[in-house]
Symmetry: C2
Subunit: 309 residues, 2 copies
């Protein structure tokens, strides 16, 4: 059994071509660049990846492409949680079959006000169907978007029933009390705050690292804090990455991150998003880049371009 995932993991942005199809070459190049920046691993098909705008087949195709391109499966934790039980089981089995380090699993998110028994059953049924000892599930708790969360009672039951399969959680509640509660109640469980804003606080409390959207454009600095969280300059590092995140968060996050990448690479195609998202209007995009420049922040375009070539 491999150790739990840890460190800075990136829910990778998904580039689209002129027909709004996923652009495999740009995707592979960007994934390589993120790893070269120091990311510990990649979570393709997270919220930031516009994964919920991709079909099951599109996700499977992209995952195959990454592995075929030589990205080690041990550095991959694809998102596999969909509304339909059969889809989640299919994607999860595929990821496990390809040797991925783990899967990041949303609860089914269409039906609201479902009870804990139902959420538990949804996860349990997928685990039973996949029926593979290699399976490592990282639960994905993101109530601000999914609306359906994963409560402590559900986690406790899952840990009791599937202790070797259910190994961690991405906590994107944005609520430190929830993260602290997870760390207190489930020792040994790999708790990833969903933002680098809580990375330092998380590490001090026994957290596993972070899985953060903004790591798409600031992986090296976030990894720097992860590696140095015990050092005297940790607070300073924290303040710096938190300031950059706050600046980006003032904009719709996915479109903003794509704007930053497109600008750094001089590649306007990176601006493209799939409906229902919309790209930033030109004035907003300029303002974002100006806001970041004012902080002295620039994405390492050279490194990015080199990886893309």
């Amino acid at each position: 059994m491999t150790a739990n995932a840890a460190g800075v993991w990136v829910p990778v942005l998904t580039p689209f071509d002129a027909k709004l199809a996923p652009d495999r070459d740009r995707f592979i190049a960007f994934c390589r660049w993120l790893l070269a920046q120091g990311a510990d691993g990649l979570c393709p098909f997270g919220t930031t990846s516009e994964a919920n705008s991709l079909s099951v087949e599109e996700r499977m195709g992209l995952l195959e492409s990454l592995i075929a391109a030589g990205i080690p499966p041990s550095k991959l934790m694809p998102g596999t949680g969909l509304c339909a039980l059969t889809d989640t089981a299919r994607l999860t089995a595929h990821a496990v079959g390809r040797g991925c380090r783990g899967v990041l699993m949303l609860p089914p998110f269409y039906y609201k006000a479902v009870d804990d028994d139902g959420i538990y059953a949804a996860f349990a049924e997928v685990i039973e169907r996949v029926a593979d000892q290699r399976l490592r599930v990282y639960l994905y708790h993101i109530p601000p978007v999914a609306q359906v969360g994963i409560g402590f009672g559900v986690i406790e039951r899952l840990l009791n029933a599937y202790p070797s399969s259910v190994v961690g959680i991405k906590d994107s509640s944005g609520d430190w009390k929830n993260t602290q509660g997870l760390l207190d109640r489930f020792p040994g469980f790999a708790v990833f705050p969903g933002a680098e804003t809580f990375l330092l606080q998380g590490m001090r409390a026994g957290g596993a690292g972070c899985i953060s959207a903004t790591a798409n454009v600031n992986a090296a600095a976030i990894r720097g804090l992860y590696a140095n969280w015990r050092e005297p300059d940790a607070e300073q590092r924290h303040a710096r990455i938190a300031e950059i995140r706050r600046t980006i968060e003032a904009y719709p996050a996915i479109a903003a991150l794509k704007t930053i990448v497109a600008n750094a690479l001089g590649d306007p195609q990176w601006n493209r998003v799939r409906p229902p998202l919309t790209k930033l209007a030109e004035a907003r995009a300029k303002k974002l880049l100006a806001d970041l420049a004012a902080l002295g922040f620039t994405l390492d375009a050279h490194g990015a371009r080199a990886a893309a070539e």
Copy 2:
């Protein structure tokens, strides 16, 4: 070009077998029975159908089964709106290709706080991809569940761009003001309140009928009001069906409806739901059936059984 759909349409419950797979035979029998009860048409794969717990392939397979069993496609308006553009386009093209009367289309519902441009683009892109003059889209506005709604501005733009394709809406806002606003602002648009509670009020204001979950167990009476809404006993019919709906709505609706069907057919398999839903606990199920019996309501078990045989 066929006229817009009208009357009482049923978002059909989906029965599951012991492996939680859709049970095609029970599904076909139940659809036949609903039509025999007087339903004007069927909306398989609505919210009540647990459609969002079914994969694209499962929906397509069930639709094929219905048509192969002789259910006229002119009486079918399947739900086809999913989070992923490519999935929605695929399901919609399939339904149009099979000659369905229309499709009932949710907006993409994972990403929240998306703007009107994005919702518009999501529908427009599907219509462009399907590129079939036979396409008839009924928008599906259900903000209490989907969280993402369809505003008047989006509808106006769609009607301007695709006047022959976008022909109606199911308004499950539960807010009469919204329904009235749709009727006022878009004359000729087929507006279906999402509950029989608003059927009479809707007909008086120019509505098209209703598409309602509880029509799964009360289709004949609801159809009776639709056929007689100008008659002196309309208020009395309205009060009766509204009372039954209120009673059922005090329980989780899908599980409650399945309990009623299972009881009427003497077929416990009908109780089964897919996670994340849970079936009613036995005491709750008994209470529901007692509540309904106290109103003198019983589902026509004989008719249901005959159709199932």
